[in-house]
Structure formats: structure tokens, C-alpha cells
């Protein structure tokens, strides 16, 4: 499965490449509770991959496994063709996997600009001493990073709040700033944990547009978790469906929509 040669073109003409990340037989337990049970799936270059499922299905746990916040008891994570050893979250982030959080984790005391700049930390290489005396390399780096950040800020239409401390922003904008921070890292994979949670219809539409634009414009690979079925079906190329820690479906939105197990999980089924 791990040969990067294959790939295909979607109906709207985007190129989907080979497998960039593959989860193999992942099992995650918290004490006696099995959050994820023997789940395998892959993420391809340039696609929008969704993980859906009812409450408590283990979606967020799965995202936390990918981003290194949890280390699974069993199973392998393959990233860019190599087996990934157990890692700390910051190491995973430095490998180019950026994420957002379900309940927003921003630096509330810092301005929007500074928040987005932190996304560039992985690209900054100037040493502590070089920065302490502030010249040459450090300065060039700062300028280059600022350019990328300004581009992202423009792209997500948050120029008007660049200098505002994040703590003062309304919920919907905070979500967008968090996306900007993740995007500033120019990630190989962008993980979005319920990017539309708690938003009104208008905000949801905005966010959907941004997600699609990001994927379109930068070719960013996106894996997202979402509750809202309608949104997921519109956004994603392929969907993994989870229920009670197990995978019950995997395929294109159409395939998943007609999958009996998925329908049962979402609508409930009469037990006799």
C-alpha cells in the first residue's frame, strides 16, 4: 500500500498523490477503556480526508495519535514511507504535521500576528546566541517568515485583527486564527479537530470555503474530524467512519453514505 506511485485525479481536477501517512492496526487504550481498536487507514498526498463518527467514537483520539499527543499501545504509524517511532508532540510538529484543537488552543495573551508567527517556529533555525545578538541570519529569517505569515493572514482574511490580542476575539475568528497558525507552518499534513464545532451557519460556510481554498491553493493534505455530516460530504475526498473505537466504513462520500453500517451508527438501529 505504501508505494507512492499511484494517484488519481478528482472530478474537479485536483491531483491526489501517493500515500503520505498510513496508520496500521492502531489500538489505543486508557486503562480498561479501548478508545481505538485495530484501525487502519491511509492519507494521500493532497486529499481532504475526513474522520467522522458519533460522539465518543474515538475520532479525536485518532487525531491525537497522528499528532503524537497519544502514543498507541499497538500498531504502526508510517509517515512519508518510514515507520515513525513513538514521539513527543513537538517532534511530530517539527516533522510537518500541524493541527488545530477542538476547543481552541491559542496563545490568548498574544496578538494574532504573534500567534501565527509561532506557527513558523519549526522553520526558524538561527541559534539562541545568534538571536540574542539579533543580526544576520536571525534577521533574514524573521523577514522571510513574516512574508509567509502575512500571506496566510491575507489568505484567511484576518488582516483587520492582526494586532488584536487573541483573547478578545469572538469564537469564529479564534478558530480562523488557529487555522492560520497551523497553516503558517506549511505543513505536510494539516489536522483539523472539528473546525466547525460551535459555529453558526455563516461561519461554517466561511470555514468550509477556507478549507477547500487551502487545499486547492497550496495543495495541502488535510485530515479533519467533523460532526456535521453535510459539511463532511461536501468537503472531503475520502471518509473514514468510526463507531465505538472501530472502523465501520472507509471510502468516498458516496460510498460511505450508502454503507449500511454507517447508516445504522448514525441513525440508530432496532436491536431485537
Amino acid at each position: 500500500m505504501l508505494d507512492a506511485s499511484e494517484g488519481f485525479t478528482t472530478e474537479d481536477g485536483r491531483k491526489i498523490g501517493g500515500v503520505v501517512m498510513e496508520m496500521k492496526h492502531i489500538t489505543l487504550r486508557f486503562g480498561g477503556v479501548v478508545a481505538i481498536q485495530d484501525i487502519s487507514f491511509d492519507i494521500r498526498q493532497g486529499e481532504v480526508r475526513a474522520i467522522i463518527g458519533p460522539n465518543g467514537a474515538g475520532k479525536s483520539s485518532m487525531l491525537n495519535v497522528i499528532s503524537g499527543f497519544y502514543n498507541p499501545q499497538q500498531g504502526e504509524v508510517w509517515y512519508k514511507g518510514a515507520l515513525r517511532p513513538p514521539m513527543k508532540p513537538y517532534q511530530v510538529a517539527r516533522q510537518g504535521i500541524a493541527r488545530t484543537f477542538q476547543n481552541i488552543a491559542l496563545f490568548e495573551g498574544m496578538s494574532v500576528l504573534d500567534n501565527v508567527m509561532t506557527g513558523r517556529i519549526r522553520q526558524m533555525n538561527a541559534g539562541l546566541l545568534a538571536q540574542a545578538i539579533w543580526k544576520g541570519k536571525a534577521e533574514r529569517e524573521e523577514v522571510e517568515n513574516r512574508e509567509v505569515v502575512e500571506k496566510v493572514i491575507d489568505f484567511l482574511e484576518i488582516q483587520h485583527i492582526r494586532k488584536t490580542p487573541v483573547g478578545r476575539l469572538p469564537y469564529g475568528l479564534k478558530k480562523r486564527v488557529e487555522l492560520a497558525r497551523a497553516l503558517a507552518a506549511e505543513p505536510s499534513i494539516l489536522l483539523l479537530d472539528e473546525p466547525m464545532a460551535g459555529m453558526n451557519v455563516e461561519e461554517k460556510e466561511d470555514m468550509s470555503r477556507f478549507i477547500l481554498d487551502v487545499n486547492d491553493e497550496f495543495g495541502t493534505t488535510i485530515a479533519l474530524i467533523e460532526h456535521d455530516m453535510g459539511v463532511v460530504m461536501d468537503l472531503s475526498d475520502r471518509v473514514v467512519v468510526m463507531d465505538y473505537g472501530k472502523k465501520i466504513g472507509d471510502g468516498t462520500p458516496d460510498e460511505v453514505r450508502n454503507n449500511q453500517a454507517v447508516i445504522d451508527a448514525y441513525l440508530g438501529v432496532a436491536h431485537d
Binding site: 499527543f69 513537538y90 500541524a98 517556529i121 507552518a185
Partner: protein, 328 residues
Amino acid sequence: MPEQFIWGMEVFANGLMAGVLYALVALGFVLIYKASGIFNFSQGVMALFAALTLVGIMEGQVPFSHLINATFGTEIHHFGWHVPALAAILLTMAVMVLLAWLVNHFIFRHLVNQEPIILFMATIGLAYFLEGFGDIMWGSDIKKLDVGLPQGINSTIDEVTYNLFGYGFFIDNLDLWATFIAILLVIGLVVFAQYSKHGRAMRAVADDHQAALSVGVSLNFIWVMVWSLAGFVAIVAGIMWGTKSGVQFSLSLIALKALPVLMLGGFTSIPGAIVGGLIIGVGEKLFEFTFGGMMGGATENWFAYVLALIFLVFRPQGLFGEKIIERV
């Protein structure tokens, strides 16, 4: 101009200088508190330890010599060399970085997400340990510290003020240098925190651990860095206080004076630590000058604490601290 007023001005100027020294200690507190939420009770002892180490290195003292002599019956005290001040300061810095790493590795790494009071207790333990350790390592006698900073009355200020008021102000050169260095230090720290990668990462860690991890910041690295910075500030404070009044164990008590400074300035504000220090310094000197006589003197011992108490009642977040607002 009335004599009283001119003297008052001199007292004011000296108060500012004393305030700078208080601010230097308070600064170390603020750094660690901002980045890790730990109220570091051992900051004063760190300044003492830094000063002890600096003197020890400069004088070529053998560390643990008392212990070694008592155990093996030897009589060694000195290596017999002298290290130049600048090299000794750099070596002391290396020792403080090592100390920072040890403190993080053996104590605070294991206390992540604990209650603030538990972290605070740990720093109290650290303070006592460090005091005892410094004693064993370098001995408990009062030492003279001289890194080449000029001391004594500044004759220029003396002359200028004499020509202006007919009375020459006594301003110590050392205090002037302390002020100058403190200003440099604060500018450096602010620039570092605001504009550098590691400074940004430091603020990020202070704000939200999860988010910091998700952008690739190693918490342990930042904590060691912050403790090292606090160690650096401790060296500067240790040099200033040590030069002024000799390196002695009562030096660790200056940490207590930093508490009212912090209550005034706010625990999270670097400029607050400076302004708080200046207010306390000037306040206690002027108070002693104006009311000291009436009250039998020695008001400097308690003035700062009373002022802090008043602040706690009316403005608990301090002058510059972040206002505590709970959203309902």
C-alpha cells in the same frame, strides 16, 4: 531653595538607585512566573549562590574544600590561581545553566500540571537546599566581591549639584552602574521575549502548553532556558548586591524585599518589576527621610510591606499585572 527640599532630592535619587537593585531581583521572579507559572521563592538564594560561585571561581577557591579537608584530613583551600572577572562571570553562567537543567530535570519536569502551591513549596525546598549547598561548596564566611565596577562617590554629580544647589549630592558610582546595567538587561529581555523565536516560544509555553507543543515547541527546552535566564539575572543581581554589601548569606533575604515589589508591579510584567522596584526604593527612602524621625526610625524595614498590603487590598493585580477577569 529650602535645604530640606534639596536633601529630599538627594534621597529621591538614592531611592531610585536602591529601587533598581530591588527590581533586579524581582525581574528574576517575573521571568520564571511568566513562563512557567512557578513562583520561584529561591530567586534570592540563586542570586546568593551565583555571587558565591563567582567569588569562588575568581579567587580560585576549591569547591567543597571544608568537606574534603574534614574527610581526608587535608589542608587545601585554594588552587592558587585567580580568574579574571569576565571569564569568571562566563563560568558562573555555565554553572547557572547547569543548575537550571538540574532543577528542571529533577524537580519541575515531574511536577507539570500540579497545583501552584505545590510548585511554590518545591521552590522553597530548592531555596533551602541551594543555601546549604552553597555553604558546603564555598564556605559560609563573608566574602568581598570585586569585578572591577567603580565604587564610591560620583564626583561629576557631586560637582554639578554643588554648583546648582550649593550642596553636593552623594551618589554612588556602583549604583549608577547598576542602573545602567539593569536598563540594558531589561531592554535585552524585552527584545528577546518579543522578537526572537525562543522568546516567542517562551511566551507561547507560558500561555498554553498544548498549543505550544502543537507548533513544535519543546516544553523542557523552554523551561531550562527560562531557568537559565533567571540564573543570569541572579548573577547580575548577585554581582550588584555582593559588590555593595559583600557576599554573605543574608543576601538571600533580599528576595523578601522583592515580594512587595512584585505586588506593586504585578507578577507578570517585566516593566512592572522595574517600576515597582523604583517605587519601593524611592518610597521607603523618602518615608524614612520625612517621617522616620517622628516614628523612631528604621521605617525602611517595614514600609515596603505595608505599601504592598495596601496594594493587595485595593489593586491585587498590581500596577501592570493582568487583570483577573472570570467570564461567567
